[in-house]
Symmetry: C2
């Protein structure tokens, strides 16, 4: 069974002088916003800094002055962004970044990144970049072209694992696996002490987690099926330090790292990437909005010959 | 300017007992067949074995008992295959293989491989495989599921170069470049002595070549623009032996090799692949139709950080 795990992601900062704080906005608004992307709110957790919604396709985090929303599958996150801009008002938006990763099955998507940013750009003009290679893993980033400058300590990380090991895939696609068993497999109790956790096991498989502790957040989304496996981690916790552990658990054939405002990115790659992985792509730029954006893709070389995958051509299959 | 270089490819063998030979069929038929895919015939050459048509998007070769057609861009080769089956009659078709490579811009394609083989499979049932990784370079192969067994000496090769060097791209995107200059750059005079050559330089750039000599054929298609560059070679000449020369000319950051019925594939990789390239994917299978199919993707590791690509978001752009 095919599922497109790779996410679209938007982060929007508001000017709190122009608008009462985001955490005063009621859940009906967030529900309507999420609906626009064709996803649904499943549940939520909150602390004094943040409210985190678990979605049918990924996650929404709401802080006092910013939102972060990720949606995967065949959702149209850009429609939620449009809804937000129209309801909050462009003048109250201090900054906006919109990201989209390369997809396993781009042909099955209702829009491409070019379509998405054309829509946003008409409402609020910006600039766009591609980090990574067109014929391989890459990440598109659009940001508003205004006078906003990010705080140097606004540091976030993404770790994206592709083609996880057969062992990890088999474990994570077992029938009736509980969320507790998945948390154990991902060693989250030791990674996330003290965090409030909200997680969900999808049927027949697939897993999402939101975790918050004070101002820290982590969201994990697991598409475990062999052949289109994709496990994403997004956090303001230093994920680079966790790479050895995550690789030990997942054994991906390829993974991407992305960071915003991590000045030690290159040094940490040297420190934390296991030596059997080869660097296929490395891209870095300090954007006009102040964010230092780093992207790297690593692969495991393959020396022995594998069998091809035989495809099921009996029915509808857009996943080819 | 974006152009999707990667090709769809069909090879169809006919039962000459059931049908007068293909070389008796007139050009109007081939023109109508090519039209079905939304391409056009530009010119042709022939010898006693073969007629080779240069197309607006790639090439068509017609032998006495088989055709080979490749079309690139946003063409729908499957419509030409459907036309062929309907006009020649399924009972006269001895075997058919239909291939499709991963695209740079899958979202811009009018159909996906799943759609294509659903159409063919309704007319003539078959099997399908994916050679290579879903999140990287791969090649889909569909073939009829019948009692045909390929001749062991029916050996063909593909060499597909991605992300050619800046030097090669700049040379091949010069204004008013002549076909003679491109042949010189590709060192074709030494590679193809005695061949009849038909080639075409597209505007503003892009190049196609058909070459035949006795029963040998070679077709080359050049999409030279930086960032979506793609140069394909398809031949029954041993392209594995030519890899060092082709890499020296093109300097690709990544390339694929594919072969049908080359028993020495693995040994030749060891012999001919320059050591700076890393093997990212290797796949091999002897299909039911007798063809031993091998696929390999190689990459150059990247150690230094590059700048991202800034995207033009001013107008329509489906190439994102």
């Amino acid at each position: 069974m095919f599922f497109e795990g790779s996410e679209k992601k938007a982060e929007i900062l508001i000017d709190s002088k122009q608008l009462s704080l985001l955490d005063d906005i009621n859940d009906e608004f967030w529900s309507a916003l999420v609906d626009c992307s064709q996803a649904k709110i499943l549940s939520s957790i909150s602390n004094e800094y943040c409210k985190a919604f678990l979605l049918s396709e990924s996650s929404l985090f709401v802080w006092q002055d910013r939102i972060l929303i990720l949606t995967c599958g065949e959702t149209q996150l850009v429609k939620a962004v449009e809804y937000f801009i129209q309801h909050i008002g462009a003048q109250a938006i201090k900054h906006l970044t919109y990201q989209r990763k390369n997809e396993y099955f781009a042909n099955a998507q209702p829009s491409c990144f070019g379509d998405d940013i054309k829509l946003i750009n008409q409402l609020m003009p910006g600039k766009a970049y591609r980090f990574g290679e067109m014929d391989s893993h890459h990440n598109y980033v659009f940001h508003l072209d205004n006078d906003f400058i990010a705080d140097a300590d606004d540091i976030t990380y993404e770790f994206l694992a592709y083609q996880i090991s057969k062992k990890a895939s088999q474990h994570l696609t077992q029938e009736n696996l509980t969320s507790k068993e998945i948390r154990q497999f991902l060693r989250l109790d030791s990674l996330l002490p003290n965090f409030i956790i909200d997680d969900f096991v999808f049927s027949p498989y697939g897993y999402s987690l939101n975790a918050i502790y004070q101002q820290q957040y982590l969201t994990i989304h697991v598409t475990p099926q062999m052949d289109s496996s994709y496990i994403s981690f997004e956090s303001n916790i230093d994920l680079l330090k966790l790479v050895p552990t995550l690789i030990d658990i997942l054994g991906p054939k390829s993974f991407d790292l992305m960071s915003f405002n991590e000045n030690e990115f290159e040094a940490k790659l040297t420190q934390y990437i296991p030596e059997q992985y080869i660097s296929k792509s490395k891209v870095s730029k300090q954007l006009n909005n102040g964010y230092l954006v780093n992207f790297a893709n690593f692969i495991l070389p393959q020396e022995t010959f594998l069998e091809p995958i035989e495809l099921d051509i009996s029915g509808e299959n857009h996943a080819l």
